[in-house]
Symmetry: D2
Subunit: 157 residues, 4 copies
Amino acid sequence: MRRSEKCLSALERRGVSLDDLIECARFLHGPYEDIKDSTIASVLVDILDKREVANALLCAIELDELCERDLFSDKALQEKIMYDDGLFGVDEVLAYGICNIYGSIALTNFGYIDKVKPGIIGKLNERKEGVCNTFLDDIVGALAASAASRMAHEKGS
Amino acid sequence: MRRSEKCLSALERRGVSLDDLIECARFLHGPYEDIKDSTIASVLVDILDKREVANALLCAIELDELCERDLFSDKALQEKIMYDDGLFGVDEVLAYGICNIYGSIALTNFGYIDKVKPGIIGKLNERKEGVCNTFLDDIVGALAASAASRMAHEKGS
Amino acid sequence: MRRSEKCLSALERRGVSLDDLIECARFLHGPYEDIKDSTIASVLVDILDKREVANALLCAIELDELCERDLFSDKALQEKIMYDDGLFGVDEVLAYGICNIYGSIALTNFGYIDKVKPGIIGKLNERKEGVCNTFLDDIVGALAASAASRMAHEKGS
Amino acid sequence: MRRSEKCLSALERRGVSLDDLIECARFLHGPYEDIKDSTIASVLVDILDKREVANALLCAIELDELCERDLFSDKALQEKIMYDDGLFGVDEVLAYGICNIYGSIALTNFGYIDKVKPGIIGKLNERKEGVCNTFLDDIVGALAASAASRMAHEKGS
């Protein structure tokens, strides 16, 4: 199985579709270029095929699920993640691990989308009893930011 | 002379006052806390006293001025900086050198302020014949983002 | 309980003492300055009191322990971590989250100590059935690198 | 002219040949794989064709040359760069701007090669009256580190 397939199926399990990712990437890159969904999709798949991206994403989702399943030994830490403490910081660190690979535009885009929280990012961010998307929402932002950066660089070259 | 004094005087020479920095930091942190100008000012001065921050800032301003003075050997590179090519990337790299020191909230804040461009950042970004603020506007964003991150962490502790 | 106490007790549980950390920091900074153990210790405690440092460390240790307890849903991912796949990358990403806060000397120091693996880092790196220190050895390297960076900056100022 | 050609000719002007870069990349990746010079060369050319890499490299070389030509307004800053003050930090920040794109192995490799200084990096580091390679030696390290990272990921896939 290709890395991107494994990632997309893990995302699907967590309620995030490829269309959701496309919508977020379009939110960032749309103002600069009229671009087809299929083009954005293929950029996203390329990104999800990268080893370091896939590993960060799978780790992030695993962490969210381990929290939901109440399996952390350190319950104070689990609580912090479960309630998405804004000063926690490790969720963004994993996201930057992805963005860095796509250059400075990816990092800037991430900061922006992380504040504005369009589409699925806003939905993931709503608190629901027993559900933890603390790591995932930042990963989705990082994927959209990286895709927008790649498209900006391709348009510019 | 303290590092912060040297930085503030270089900023002043380039049209950026301490009040401008305070306004940008307040733009980011204001929604979370009612905080006095003097408190923000002292956080900013602390940041400007850091060796790596001061060096990045002074290098950035020097680069802008060397461009304006038409002193680059590589004229194509000078042109790219002069006209703030959005894909250039080195200006953001210097800014991240500052933000990284203040943690992941600083990086997120930077991405946001860099898109919204409030106050002096918007003004620095207006193209004027013979004036180059390509590096400076990102540094100002990085300082505001770092100050907001420090205030968020202090509030939280 | 202070953050540093919680971190030191988690480290102790995983076989890393404050003396081990001091030895690694001395390995990096020793060639530049004759410095007392108690001074290095107090720099390390300061670092462990930082919120983002403590969170990254506790998350890293939790991940190692969750792997050992065989609790990951994604067994392929768990395997990769368990056997410290050199291309995994997420362990270093967490470590950089710490180093970044201590500037560029911390990052350089980390790269060096991560290759040379002195003292406890080498020991953590030895493969033992049922034991996982994939995230921890990078965190120890990051702490030593950050301490050495802080000492270099203090000496220089 | 392709970006890589422009970079290689700027490097040549500063005394760094493609063979020097190959030697540094081999120093890092050689222990893991028997690989031909021509393969390393083509990885390096690919890296030098990336927009953000080329911009960082050209900026770095320009800064070194502007120092040598005594053109900085801020003479204290120029002095610091001219004598490669170990706490300066901005040179490494530019280098990280390159390494980040090639993932965490690139960052680790950079830290290592920056301490050991094999081949041309050691030579660039020798102080010579009127010569400044403060930014360049870190860029060379970053290029070698990035090439070694790419080769490691390709071998692993």
